[in-house]
Symmetry: C2
Subunit: 212 residues, 2 copies
Amino acid sequence: MEKQRVSDAVIRRLPRYYRQLSQLEREGVLRISSGQLSRLMSLTASQIRHDLNCFGGFGQQGYGYSVKGLKSAIADILELGQQKHMIIIGAGNIGQALACYEGFPREGFYVHAIFDNNPRLIGKTVGRLQVSDIQELESYLAAEKVNIAVVATPGEFAQQTADRLTACGVRAIWNFAPIDVAAPNNVVVENVSLSDSLYALSYFMNQLDEQA
Amino acid sequence: MEKQRVSDAVIRRLPRYYRQLSQLEREGVLRISSGQLSRLMSLTASQIRHDLNCFGGFGQQGYGYSVKGLKSAIADILELGQQKHMIIIGAGNIGQALACYEGFPREGFYVHAIFDNNPRLIGKTVGRLQVSDIQELESYLAAEKVNIAVVATPGEFAQQTADRLTACGVRAIWNFAPIDVAAPNNVVVENVSLSDSLYALSYFMNQLDEQA
DNA sequence: TAGATTGTTAATCGATTAACAATC
DNA sequence: TAGATTGTTAATCGATTAACAATC
C-alpha cells in the first residue's frame, strides 16, 4: 500500500500549524482539540484532522492533541531539526534584511555568505557577515555545502544567477526578484514576489470599498 | 444577470500575468496567444483564457492578445493606476528594506512614513524618510489618508499594532510579523510569513532528495 | 476563404467538508 | 461508563481542464 502523495495545499498549511502551536506553547497551553485550533486559525476542524492524518495519527480520541507533541511531529515532517545552509545573492535591501533576520537560525536555517557584484558593497559588514564578490560564487560553492540559495538580485539578473547556482549543484532556490525564475526539474524554486502579495491585498481592499 | 464573484485563486494569478506581460513588453513582443503564454508561465492555455474571461474578452480570435492591451487591462482590474498611500510600522530589517524598495512606487504604492518604538531608531534616515516615534501613529493617521499599513514589528507586537491601526480606520494590513494577525471583517489582512515560504521550499527540497 | 485562436460551456479532477464509527 | 474527540470514509463543492462553436 503505497503512501499517497500529500498535496501542496496541505504542505503549505504545515508551517502555519507549526507557528500556531509554537504560540500556544509559549502561552503554556498543553493540549488542544481540532475544534479549538480551527477557531484560532480560521480553518475547519475537519480540515485540520484531515491534514494531520496525511502524516499520521497524532491525536488521541476524547482528548485532542498534545501541543508539544504535535508541534514536534510537524517539525519532524518539515525536518526543521536538521541544519540548513544558505547563501544570499544580492546585498541590496532585501538581501541584507534576510541576512540579518534572526528568525531563520532559530529554526535551523543559517546564512553563511552573501554575495554582490557592486564594488561599493563588497567587503561591507551585514550582520555577522561580510559581503563577498559574486565572482567568488563558483569557488565558494565548490568548497561549501549549500542547501538553499536566496536570489535577491534585481529582476534582470535573477535568471542568470539561478543558472549559475544550478550549474554548481544548488538544489533549492528562494527567489525574491520580481521575475519568476525557471530551473531544471531536479531543482526546487520558490518564487516569492512580494509585489504580487501587495497587489492582491490592494485588490481585495478595493473590492471591500466598492461593497461599502 | 449578476456578475459572479471571481475566486481568490484567479485574483492571485493576475499579478503574475501582469509581471509576465511587463516582461514581454520590455522584450518588444507585441502580441501573444494563450498557448504561448501558458508555456512561459507553466499554466494551461485553457486556464489563462478562463481566468481572463472572468473580467472580459481581451483577446481576438485567430490573433491572440495584444501584450500592451492585456497588460493595461490587468492594471485596470488591479487598479494599479491609482496611487496607494502606505506607512510601515517597525523599522527593523524588513521594515527598512520595504521602505527602500523601488519597485513599489513604480506601480503607484508610496511609503510616506515609517514608525518604531526604539529611541535609537527614531529620527534615523531610511531611504527618503525619517523614522517617526510610534507614539505619533494615531495623530498621523488622523491627519493623513493611509490606504495600506505594513506591520513589520516583532511577532509579540503585531496584533496590538494591527488593533491600533484598525482603531484608526486603516482598512488594509500587510503583515510581515511571524504571527497571523486578526482584524474585523471590514479590514483586509495579508499575512505574508516569509518563514512559511522557506519551510515549504525546504520540505519540497527534502522530498526531491528522498526520491533520488 | 482557410487557419488560427478566442470565448464559453461541459466534464473532470482534486480539495474541502460532513458524517460517524472507533476509541480514549 | 458516559462524554469527548479523533481517524477515516463518503459527499460536496469548487477549480481546472477539455472541447468546440464562434469569429477574427
